[in-house]
């Protein structure tokens, strides 16, 4: 009996917390499905729409280029992931396996970047990006490069890959060299396939971070056609000022891709094996 009460109260608390976690979205979904015939400020509020409609979704879909925002987000997140994988692996390898002059300096310089918040240096980063002509007023390609480059590599990624290379038995490398591999072949053909699990973790968390990034694109972007999803969603507020049905529908639409990604990859996030992997 005591066991039962204990289990019951644990479930009660967890259900409550789960509900609190998703309620803001439920309420947004509810609002997005209410037609013009229903007062969205009605007291008492109703969760299940009385005047059910998809019209807000079709309406906002026709006025806002979600496909364009989605493609832009994919380009930026895809490019950021691609560069992070290559640059982190390349930098992590010598830190794990090679002896060279200045190794300590390289190691601590990279570690130091962890302590530098982007928010504190964003102004000079912006000035440098302007100087390098990596902004969308030059052309779209430059704009994308400018959105990607400041996040093309991170100390987190380098240390993650260094750790992965440290875990490979040295005999693997010796055997490959004896077989006549060059160092570059050894790295790309032998070692990279062996650190795939770490590359996957790095890819997933870099993707999530880049996909949600808001501050940097909202600083550098000037053209609406270059907007990523977070910037586009924020812009809904200005476009539809107080039309909360449209704002709600647009926000939900913009969330669907990352929701699918999360559900497909959930074990990476909630298993606890990759604790602390997302940047705060």
């Amino acid at each position: 009996m005591k066991k039962f009460i204990e289990k019951f109260s644990i479930h009660a608390v967890l259900i409550l917390v789960s509900l609190l976690s998703i309620f803001p979205f439920i309420w947004l979904i509810s609002t997005s499905l209410k037609g013009a015939g229903e007062n969205i400020f009605a007291y008492p509020p109703t969760i299940i729409p009385k005047d059910f409609t998809w019209a807000n979704y079709t309406g906002v879909w026709h006025k806002v280029d979600f496909i364009g925002y989605f493609v832009n987000s994919m380009i930026v997140a895809g490019g950021t992931v691609f560069l992070n994988l290559i640059l982190s692996a390349m930098a992590g390898y010598p830190l794990a396996r090679m002896e060279f002059k200045g190794k300590k300096i390289a190691f601590f310089s990279i570690l130091a970047t962890i302590m530098i918040p982007f928010q504190a240096i964003m102004l000079p980063v912006y000035l440098i990006t302007l100087k390098l002509h990596l902004v969308d007023s030059v052309n779209n390609f430059a704009g994308f490069i400018g959105m990607i480059m400041p996040f093309a590599v991170s100390a987190f990624g380098i240390f993650l890959m260094r750790q992965a290379f440290l875990g490979i038995p040295r005999e693997m490398e010796e055997a490959a060299i004896v077989d006549g591999c060059s160092i570059w072949q050894l790295f790309t053909k032998v070692l990279m396939p062996m650190v795939k699990p770490s590359l996957a973790v790095l890819a997933i968390f870099t993707f999530i971070g880049s996909w949600g990034e808001f501050l940097w694109p909202s600083i550098v972007l000037t053209k609406e056609s270059m907007y990523t999803l977070p910037v586009g969603v924020n812009n809904l507020q200005g476009m539809f000022s107080s039309n909360w049905r449209f704002i709600a529908a647009g926000s939900i639409l913009a969330t669907i891709p990352i929701l699918i990604f999360f559900l497909a990859m959930q074990r990476y996030f909630i298993s606890g094996e990759n604790e602390g992997a997302v940047k705060g």
């Binding site: 090679m98 240096i121 010796e174």
Partner: protein, 290 residues
């Protein structure tokens, strides 16, 4: 072991990452200090050397103290809650119960959803005639100006940050809980210890390093909040919800007062670097094999 790589190989491997870090981290880092000694207020194309004038202006400005105060309120409210509440949830999830994965997914959901969408969702909850005010008035209280009352705005924004962080720290705690020896709990059960004493005497002492880690990383991220404020209040009303990063953004990109904004950024750098140093030296030593 024989040396199988050329003299320059390590440098070539490090070069691409090194270049990116140089251009987008180290140069901007030093440039932040440099810019803070120049005055851009007359023209952003022809700055004049200003010495420590920006710092003097900063330390004489009441808004600076307001912003600093708001940031520390953010820390003092959000950090203890984010250090304790997710631990409580993690302990509950760690009991042998059904539906653990579903609970984890639902509670983690706010972490992966864009902060912009989260802030919009809360803005809607906080609306003047919104659902929260319905709850408040039906309990017999006056309506609250969640985002429009200077006494409330900052706390309303903090709630969003907390709500979005719980799942993240819960997962960190769950990983730590796996390392607590099961025998200790069994011993507690034999002694007939209740839920509270069990966790106060066994769990908490065992995962103290993780609690400390969560405290510092949540403090660092509380120092950096921006999007919540940008989307919900723009720092208002009357600067009541303006924090350091938002203030830097406003001065740099809206007022184009680059020198002043940089002086502010130096203050942020000093505070965050102090926190990070504590974090790395005390809690994440193993992660980097120091």
């Amino acid at each position: 072991m024989f040396k199988y790589y050329g003299k320059y190989a390590p440098y070539l491997f490090l070069l691409p990452a090194g270049l990116v870090l140089l251009v987008f981290f180290f140069i901007p880092f030093f440039q932040t200090f440099f810019l803070s000694f120049f005055d851009y207020s007359a023209s952003i194309y022809q700055p004049t050397f200003a010495g420590i004038e920006n710092y003097v202006k900063l330390f004489q400005s009441p808004i600076f103290y307001k912003v600093l105060w708001n940031t520390f309120v953010y820390l003092f409210v959000a950090v203890p809650i984010l250090a304790i509440f997710p631990l409580f949830i993690a302990i509950l999830i760690n009991q042998k119960i059904r539906g653990v994965t579903l609970y984890k997914i639902l509670i983690y959901l706010p972490v992966i959803v864009s902060i912009v969408v989260a802030a919009i969702a809360f803005k809607w909850l906080y609306a003047d005639q919104g659902i929260l005010n319905f709850l408040v008035t039906s309990l017999g209280f006056q309506k609250i100006g969640w985002l429009t009352d200077p006494n409330w705005a900052l706390y309303s924004v903090i709630i969003v940050t907390i709500w979005k962080g719980v799942g993240y720290y819960m997962i960190i705690y769950l990983a730590a809980l796996m390392s607590v020896p099961k025998e200790l709990y069994e011993a507690c059960d034999i002694d007939g210890a209740n839920f509270l004493t069990k966790h106060l005497t066994v769990t908490i002492p065992h995962i103290m390093p993780t609690i400390a880690l969560v405290t510092t990383i949540s403090a660092i991220s509380a120092m950096k909040v921006f999007a919540e404020i940008y989307v919900m209040t723009k720092g208002g009303p009357l600067n009541s919800s303006k924090t350091i990063v938002y203030y830097i953004y406003e001065r740099a990109f809206e007022n184009l007062d680059l020198g002043y904004a940089s002086a502010m950024a130096v203050v942020l750098l000093v505070i965050v670097m102090a926190f990070s140093l504590v974090n790395i030296l005390c809690f994440e030593k193993n992660k980097y094999n120091l």
